[in-house]
Symmetry: C2
Subunit: 719 residues, 2 copies
């Protein structure tokens, strides 16, 4: 169902509208009445059983008493009364409600129970619900202020959603000061129904919104968020500030909204896969907002710097390079023109130094030339207020040219007292100005990242031919026997069923049989005790590696059997597994654990003692595409080892990618697999494949058959 009634309703009821100016129920009504909403036959209905009129509007005891339909109800009454009010809204056929009242999930177990009741009622009557425990909703183009914030913020291209109401008030206060222009503002509160995902879908084609900004503390349905954001981010940049990323932060989240914080690695992977730009601080969020809101897209990473000061030019160059961008190399013609116009001591190469006595004419000339150079994708204009600098006129010139050209022009006018004369002009012309060159570089980097997201093809998920049934049987057998750990023998079957290579192996009941098997599969071999009752074979000396000949094998068979009998007399012994020893190669690890918010988080890293210590690993949420799997290989710090160093041949990266994709399919098909580890997976030279040596699975007997069960409400029902 459309979320339009939240933003462009024709009639709004305020349930709990108050006559007392210090009450929230008054503030909401006041914002609706005096915020420009009441035009073109639109109606606002105060609902208050004790009042005749409020703010000159007739008040009704209940929404049922209002003549004609109501599109949106804002509920601002004490929490015990909310369920009944919501039911009445349902009876009246109101499609959308904003519950501002607090006292729900955030207030402990009883509150959670109350919130579940709300969700039930909303489901029953097919009502969409924002909140509870929120600040309200604003649409500056309607215009409508259905919140208790002070005043309507200025219109602009930024759509903002916040899980924290207080953060919302700060954002609105910055907007009031002219720092941001908002199209829509939603305080999501407890997200009993409407979630970030719903708003992404609702806003993706909004003509007024050029960027979507989100403050998120937790995402109940992470997989759904990825699926939706992946598509929306092709159309409009999504910038997310996610809090609660560190351990202490997570504790604060739990006590604050009761939402379950996902692990940092899962969020990192998810945002990347979804094409969502991560803001690492509130300041990042703001700085991105300006650029995405007002600038044309960045089409490449070649940046020109124009400055009247050497030092700041160096700082900007440092920052750009650190951010992974490049200094543009101008066309010879452009450099010639610049050299002719500028004084001798100026630098016509990038960064262009106009010198300390530069007036606006030099800025104009340089901007005209450089913005016309096809080798330039974006321009950063720096100004330091020197003795002769004409700050105001320079700001006018920059604003004029920035408004004409189709590449982003950002500015860094440094200082404040004198420089204000320029920054006010830039702000009025929507030219993003950053006080420090490093901020501008960070923003350009973000624009470049977004360009990468936008040009990347939507992922396609391959499906391999696998033996699903055999895995189903293996898992069911284990679960029916009450086992949650799956050891080598059964894990081998599972991997084989999903097309992963494992070393050849057979069960031998006698030493002679073991020799016969080894003669057939080839030396050297490993012998492992085979028993359903012995899980940790190594601990009892039940494994012997590197056996080169029949004598070694017979000795090992007897030794292992003797030890197993002696240390675990009650164990059923089936004999020994004879396994061909894999030749040496590069050891990597492939793993998976299940994130509570995003589901299967697949890990890739190098194996071995160094890497365990260095934690050099990459993550993706399954399912992922072949390209995403390839990216994982490139993301680890030691990725050069995969390509071969010190003259070694490159490894078979395709085999690793194949294994990652098959594992992703396995853990997607079987949600009961809670953890999985293949360590080591040995990868050989290009073309020679790879093989899983040791593997381990942990099951979760309580996991439902498919997907994640989230109780946060009907958030996903309309997708």
């Amino acid at each position: 169902m459309s979320l339009d009634p939240f933003f462009t309703p024709n009639s709004v009821a305020v349930i709990g509208a108050s006559t007392k100016p210090h009450k929230l129920g008054y503030a909401v009504l006041d914002n609706l009445v005096n915020g420009g909403y009441l035009t073109e036959g639109r109606q606002v209905h105060p609902i208050n059983p004790k009042a005749e009129t409020i703010l000159d509007l007739p008040a009704y005891p209940s929404v049922n008493d209002v003549p004609g339909p109501i599109d949106l109800a804002v509920i601002v009454i004490p929490y015990p009364l909310v369920p009944d009010a919501l039911r009445t809204c349902g009876e009246k056929g109101i499609p959308a409600t904003i519950v501002i009242s607090a006292g729900f999930r955030e207030a402990g177990m009883e509150g959670l129970q109350r919130e579940r009741e709300l969700i039930e009622i909303a489901k029953e009557y097919n009502i969409r619900l924002i909140g509870p425990n929120c600040l309200g909703v604003i649409d500056t183009f309607t215009p409508m202020n259905a919140s208790f914030s002070a005043g309507l913020p200025p219109s602009g291209p930024m759509a903002f959603m916040s899980q924290s109401g207080a953060l919302g008030t700060a954002i609105l206060d910055w907007a009031q000061a002219g720092r941001l222009g908002l199209s829509k503002f939603v305080s999501l509160g407890n997200k009993a129904d409407v979630s970030e995902t719903d708003l992404l879908l609702a806003w993706q084609d909004d003509p007024h919104s050029r960027v979507i900004l989100c403050y998120i503390e937790g995402l109940p349905d992470g997989q759904e968020f990825i699926r939706v954001a992946r598509h929306v981010s092709k159309k409009v940049p999504i910038v997310v500030l996610k809090s609660g990323v560190t351990q202490a932060g997570s504790r604060a989240v739990s006590s604050h909204t009761g939402s379950l914080a996902g692990s940092e690695q899962a969020y990192q992977a998810a945002f990347h896969q979804a094409g969502v730009l991560r803001a690492h601080s509130l300041q990042d969020l703001f700085d991105y907002a300006l650029a995405f809101g007002y600038l044309p897209p960045l089409r490449g990473d070649r940046i020109a710097i124009i400055t009247n000061a050497g030092g700041p030019g160096i700082l900007a160059t440092d920052a750009l390079e650190r951010a992974g961008l490049r200094l543009a190399r101008f066309e010879p013609e452009c450099i010639r023109e610049l050299e002719q116009f500028l004084p001798d001591a100026a630098s016509a190469a990038n960064p262009v130094d106009l010198l300390g006595d530069a007036m606006s004419d030099r800025y104009r000339f340089a901007l005209d030339q450089i913005s016309a150079d096809p080798h330039v994708d974006g321009i950063l204009v720096i100004l330091a207020p020197q003795a002769l600098t004409d700050i105001g006129e320079t700001a006018r010139v920059v604003s004029e040219i920035a408004g004409k050209v189709d590449i982003p022009v950002l500015t860094c006018f440094m200082g404040e007292a004198q420089v204000k004369a320029g920054t006010e002009i830039l702000e009025a012309h929507n030219v993003p100005n950053y006080s420090f060159p490093e901020r501008a570089a960070m923003v350009l980097k973000g624009m470049s990242t977004f360009r990468g997201y936008q040009t990347m093809a939507l992922p396609t998920f391959e499906t391999f031919e696998v033996d699903h049934t055999s895995v189903r049987e293996t898992l069911d057998r284990a679960l029916s026997e009450g086992r949650v750990t799956i050891g080598d023998a059964e894990a081998r079957d599972i991997l084989t069923a999903y097309g992963l290579k494992i070393p050849a192996s057979e069960l031998a009941e006698t030493g002679d049989q073991a020799v016969e098997i080894a003669n057939r599969i080839g030396y050297p071999v490993v012998l492992k005790i085979a028993s359903p009752d012995i899980l940790h074979k190594t601990d009892i000396g039940g494994v012997k590696i590197g056996l080169q000949n029949p004598t070694d094998i017979r000795d090992a068979f007897d030794l292992i059997t003797y030890r197993a009998q002696r240390y675990t007399p009650e164990a059923r012994l089936w004999g020994c597994l004879v396994q061909k020893m894999a030749p040496p190669g590069l050891e990597v690890l492939i793993g998976m654990n299940r994130d509570p918010q995003f589901g299967p988080l697949v890990t890739f890293g190098l194996g071995g003692i160094y890497v365990e210590t260095l934690k050099d690993v990459a993550f993706r949420i399954a399912p992922f595409s072949r390209r995403e799997a390839e990216d994982m290989l490139g993301e680890i710090r030691a990725h050069a080892l995969l390509d071969g160093v010190r003259g070694e041949p490159p490894t078979d990266k395709a085999a690793v990618v194949d294994a990652l994709l098959r594992i992703a399919q396995l853990v997607t098909d079987f949600p009961e697999i809670a953890e999985l580890d293949i360590n080591p997976f040995i990868v050989y030279e290009e073309g020679l494949g790879g093989i899983s040596i040791d593997m381990r699975l942990v099951l979760n007997p309580e996991t439902p058959q498919k997907g994640l069960n989230h109780e946060a409400g009907p958030a996903g029902r309309n997708s």
Copy 2:
């Protein structure tokens, strides 16, 4: 010689004082005359051969014509006239000059020549010189504005020096807007004489300066900077913004001031060793300046957060934890008091959530309680402008308490339009306010780092008993033979002379002799061809490892000899080196290369293929203390390997530290050693030491015997 005349002169001459208001020579005079300097019998003398009076002061054709002594001369004349003017200053006995004129080192080879002339004259007459190519000098307490900047900035506790004049103008403009309060301001220009180091010495005991801020592009005498800053940073925090750190940035530096940029690693190590706090952006520099300028020192890392909003509280918690700080755990008594006073829904645990309807009384109560809790080292007060928030009164309360308590109180009042009512009050009371919680966390982290620097003992440098003479002879022999690479045999002698352990080895002329040696030193051994003419032994198959018995040795001797004769028939063959093979252990590397600005940069890292790929290394400038060497071991990412992982015993870290210190002594004693590599150095279990296996030295025949030769002038002469 004291630099006092630059800051508190009794008489100043402006050479090049102009009658024309748009000239710099007018601006400087105007700033002196109208900037409050002319009190208490102080004098300003315009020097201009064509004017009678300027700004109502009598003008003189030359400083020689001025009656009475002159303490400071500011030179603002075209560059060809500067040398003569400087000489005249010398004749007049003026102890200090500021050369504002440009056209020197920054203007190419001829300019460099002119600058050298200035340096000669300054030396001859014992004149201290700031500049050339600079903005001037300001002391707001004298008060004196001997610059061409517009107006005197507000007084305050921050002393600022900048290698970039333009960056200086931006800083002054921020100061004018009330963002910073400056005690002293020096635009260093080309640093022909007075350098950062000189100013650190001059400012370390300045009662008006509570923090020293530096913008640096390059440091000609890095060793001297470390020596001085190490002491000064015990008294006053030094915050440095160093630009030109990336490759592109370095190019910009070279073209900008002609100063040589040091490698990022060397700067990083040097600042750390010197106790200098690194600002990674201009914004960092500012944010640090406020905190160090106005707050009492942070005595621990236990931070309390007081907030009226959950979301921002989480953001702050995240940021603090990411910065390596801790949330304070309050005393039970403190929590009880808070619980009693605050509403039920509030959180009395850290972060303290006063709730959205908190008025100033809750802030006052929480601040009073928490600032008295001995488990709290610093407080961050967060405010989001919610419906009922009394922003102004809360700011007054916070300011009042922050001014009384002896721990740092920082604020984060979020927003702008409404919030301004509070931030202006905070600013007026010198309470550092940061718009974003992440900035405040960064600042607290910096304060904590500075506390670490301040409490750390000054390093003591150990000197080992070594055989200096034998190394001198080895190096002289190599250099006299025109060799710059020193291979295994000679390198062994050098390391032995400095007390490093190397594997036992002896020269064998026959296979039988090799066996006899092996029987004596023990198996297994390595055989290497011994010839002064074969440098790359491995390339011709001249090395055989892992020889276990006499037969292996005889075979290897003949094989190696045959190959050497066959592939290098002209080579003189001395026989084979028989070397005891070291038992396996943890392979690390110890290296050194010489940084052009800081000298010997010693490297420590793990050996092996993974680490080469991962570049997991730590750096220090030699000389360094035992503690600094120990820190190197802890700094690599894989440091856990040194302590033993997976049940392995800890390694002999003391042996590695010992080797690092001996290498530091070696490369300090012999500046002609340009590069050195010990790879691998094998370290064994604790108590069993370590041993250098392969080593290589590269000499620089042109290096002088001692220290660095820097031609930038007499910067270090007064230290």
